[in-house]
Structures are given as structure tokens and as C-alpha cells.
Subunit: 281 residues, 2 copies
């Protein structure tokens, strides 16, 4: 018998991985959480039928969501991470010595439990002494905060289900207030290829532009997400992700990265015409 997991990437597109075994399957109060072991991608976290991370290529996502902001401002001390229950974003952040504290707010404790048990490669730093874990709604967590974080990372699912409120103007306004004067917000910025993702990419970028003076998107290639072509949003009060990029600082850290390097940082902001047109429409 062959076991396959198929993700319905659109109504008319399926991506399927051959499965060795199911390691974890649980319906939490918020969502269906599964961890499977696959032949080509190693362990895979699936939430509500959508691939969240795979052991094979999570390094791409997690290096890009963290290294780009962290190298634009070498003085980032306090970070808020919303979502990211698998722990990969926190793992990457703890590699930067400037960081004093990370607050991580994940709605669903069961995701973190599954990660502790089955995804040691991403969850390894969630118990680091610099990290405080909160199992709460990130939307409420940022309400009323002022001048507190140098960096906020919104490591969310798509804007359907529990992730929806993380794509609203009100939420982005609260993030703006919660940021320090050199503050940067990085968010999961969707994809320009399939219609549903295109729409959300455009909407999210438009809303951020209403609030932040500097607002760019940057690309990375992660083959296990629909189309493989995905973006993060970079919204900032003062610092520009390319003009203020601190290459010397990055080199001084001597990190052994698998995807990110200084050329990749700059190239990530070079957008194909069809992506530029989508954002300018």
C-alpha cells in the first residue's frame, strides 16, 4: 500500500508527497494538526490540510524571515514573534548575539507540543532562556503596547481561519505603535502566482503601505509551498532593507547559513515585472 498526502493548492492543483507514516494527528480547539514522515521531505507539519514546514526546506523560510531584518539593524534587542509554533523562527533569531529577549505568542499550544515531540530540528531553541512563550491571540497581545519591540515577526498562515486577523489594518497599526523608533515589521507576505495568494499578497502590501513609510516585499523560493514562489513583507519606520543593509555586520557574525548570504539579501528585493505590476495595480 502507498500512502500519499495531497495538498489542494488551488481547486485545480494538487501537490502530493509519498508518506512513510503519520507521527501525530490531533484536533486542537483551533485546528487540525498533523505531523507526517515523508520520503522526499522528511518530517512535515500540516495544519488544516496545508503544509506549514518540511524538514527538507524549512531552512529557506526561517533564514529569510529572520536574517533580512536582523542584518538591517544590528541593534535589535527585543523581538516579538507571532505564530511560528514550530519554533524555526526563534531558532534562527537566537543565532544573533544582539538579541536580549524574544516574546513568542502562539495561539495554539498543541502546535508547540507537537513540535517539541516531533520536530526537534525547529523546536530546539523554544526553551532558550531568552525566550518567553505565550499561548494567546497575537492580535490581542499587541493591543496597547508602545515602543517595546525592535522587531515584530508575523509568521502566520494564510489569511483564512485563525490567521485572518493578522492581515488587518488595525493589527498593523497596533504593531506600528508597539515598535521602537527604528522598528521593523516582517510578515508572511503570500505569493504572486495563484489567484487566491495574489489577491492576499496585494491586499496585505496595500494595508501596510497605509501605515509604514517604508514598505517593501522580498522573495524566496520554497518548493513545498504552492507555486514555490513566496514573499515576506518588510515594513519599517526608518530603515530601508537594501540601503541600510549592513553587510559588514553580517560578515562579522560568521554564521554558517544554508540559503541566506549578502548577495541573496539584495537580490531578494529585485522583483520581476509581473510582481511589481501586481503591487502597483
Amino acid at each position: 500500500m502507498e500512502l500519499w498526502y495531497s495538498e489542494n493548492q488551488t481547486d485545480n492543483v494538487k501537490f502530493s508527497m509519498r508518506v512513510k507514516e503519520t507521527l501525530f494527528s490531533k484536533k486542537s480547539p483551533f485546528q487540525q494538526i498533523d505531523v507526517i514522515d515523508t520520503y522526499d521531505f522528511g518530517r512535515v507539519l500540516v495544519i488544516d490540510g496545508w503544509t506549514m514546514i518540511t524538514e527538507k526546506d524549512e531552512f529557506i523560510y526561517h533564514e529569510m524571515i529572520t536574517h533580512v531584518p536582523m542584518t538591517v539593524n544590528p541593534n535589535i534587542k527585543n523581538v516579538l514573534v507571532i505564530g511560528a509554533g514550530d519554533g524555526g523562527t526563534v531558532r534562527e533569531l537566537t543565532r544573533f548575539p544582539s538579541i536580549e529577549h524574544i516574546d513568542m505568542v502562539e495561539l495554539d499550544e498543541e502546535v508547540v507540543n507537537a513540535a517539541f515531540e516531533h520536530l526537534p530540528f525547529t523546536s530546539s531553541k523554544l526553551k532558550d532562556e531568552k525566550v518567553s512563550l505565550y499561548f494567546e491571540d497575537g492580535i490581542k497581545f499587541v493591543e496597547g503596547l508602545e515602543n517595546k519591540y525592535d522587531l515584530i515577526i508575523v509568521d502566520s498562515t494564510d489569511p483564512i481561519g485563525p490567521g485572518e486577523g493578522l492581515f488587518t489594518v488595525e493589527f498593523y497599526k497596533n504593531c506600528y505603535k508597539a515598535l521602537t523608533e527604528n522598528g521593523i515589521l516582517v510578515n508572511q507576505g503570500e505569493s504572486p502566482y495563484y489567484d487566491m495568494n495574489r489577491r492576499e499578497m496585494k491586499r496585505s502590501n496595500k494595508k501596510l503601505k497605509e501605515i509604514f513609510p517604508i514598505c517593501e516585499v522580498y522573495q524566496y523560493v520554497i518548493p513545498t509551498y504552492p507555486s514555490g514562489y513566496w514573499f515576506f513583507g518588510f515594513a519599517s519606520k526608518k530603515l530601508h532593507p537594501v540601503k541600510d543593509y549592513n553587510e559588514e555586520y553580517y560578515k562579522s557574525l560568521n554564521l554558517k547559513d544554508r540559503y541566506y548570504n549578502s548577495e541573496v539579501h539584495k537580490a531578494a528585493f529585485a522583483l520581476p515585472n509581473y510582481v511589481k505590476e501586481l503591487l502597483e495595480e
Copy 2:
């Protein structure tokens, strides 16, 4: 009833598109050729069960395979194209006024016939007066030629089946001789993600490096190929794809491109660490 076309991207990975109808299906002396109409990708050319081009994203492939070499040398007059029976590469080349003549050598006339009938969006320039079509083996076609072409584009399938001979040292040597002193060879350079493609990407690059003094690879994202993350090889006698890039020349052409622009050209050569490591192994 729902019709689906599934590509077995590896033994353990399938990519599936929902199909409206099959427009063409024929076994030629060389291979099985199908053209299908799909919901999300428009018309799709499939050879021996592998996706060759889709109406939705062929522009990415065809702009990148042509615009990168054409803008590095504004004096390209004579071009040889091997493979590319759908016609997309020739369509893009004819947009550059420097070109005087294109020889296109496609092994399988049936692919071109299918393209004329069902893929008008790529085959539109195959009858251009600057184009000579040869239905021959490209490997034999280049044997014994000297100082004839300013650019050779090897627009091949993977190195299995009829495409295999287009990935040999002997073939690359013949291409070198067939090129003029500023000659450039661009080839389908595979992908660094799945094992089979990784192996071929490395092998092809290694062989080209034995022959050409300048040898780089450049990336593009085409979601309908396995992993979505693909490369072309750029092998050249004298001109460097980034140092000799002629941005002013490109701008003067005023082409309305959908993917390519000057920033994309340069960024295409900025490789993630895992790709660099693969090529340096």
C-alpha cells in the same frame, strides 16, 4: 467526472493539474506528445509525461533563456537554437533587432506541428523570415561547424531520452568551436532541489567548466517545473553575464517584458549557499 494530469516529479512527489480536455495526443518516432487544456495553467505541452511549457508561465522561461545573453552582447547577429519545438525561444529572440538569422534545430517535427496547431502563443514567430527550421539531431548539426554563431541556446529536456546527448562534453566542445569569438552558450541547467535534478545540474556545470573560461548559472522561478526553482547555464568565451551586462542597451530596446528587467538579470546570478555548495562540491 474530473480529469487530472499528474506529473511524477520524483518517485515520491506528484504535481497534478485539473484538465478541461486533451487537445492533441500522438506518439512520434521519438516520444509521446500531448497538449492539454487545463483550468489554472491554460494550454500545456507534455512530452513523455513531463510538463514542457504552460500557457500561464512560459514567459518566465522564454524571457530568461533569451534576454540574459542577448543583453550581454548587443551585437548578436546569428543564433542557433537546439530543441525548443514549441517556438517560445524563437519568439523572444525575434524581439531583438540585432538578430539577422536564427537556425532552429528540433529533432521532432511533430512537436512543431503540435505547436503550430495548438500553441499559437509560442509558435507565432516560427515562420518569421529570419528563421530557418531544421528537423534534425542538434548533436550532429553542430559537428564540424566553426566560428558561425554568436549565441547557441540549448533548450533541451532533461538528460534522459532524446535530450541526453545535449549534456555531453563532446557536444559542448563542438558548440565552443561553432561559436564566434564573443560567443555565448546558454543551456537548460536543471535544478538544485530534487536529487535527480541536482545531480544533472552539477554534472552539466562541471562539463561546461572544462571547456568555457566563463561559466555561470542563473536562476528563475517557474512553478510548473519540479520544485519551481530552475537554472540556465551561461558559458562564454569572453563576456561575463554580470560585468558585461549592458543595461543601457536593454533600456534602449524598450521591450515590454513580463518577468525580465535589469534588476532581475543581476539578481539571477546571486545564488543561495546551498546552490553554491552544490556547484563547488
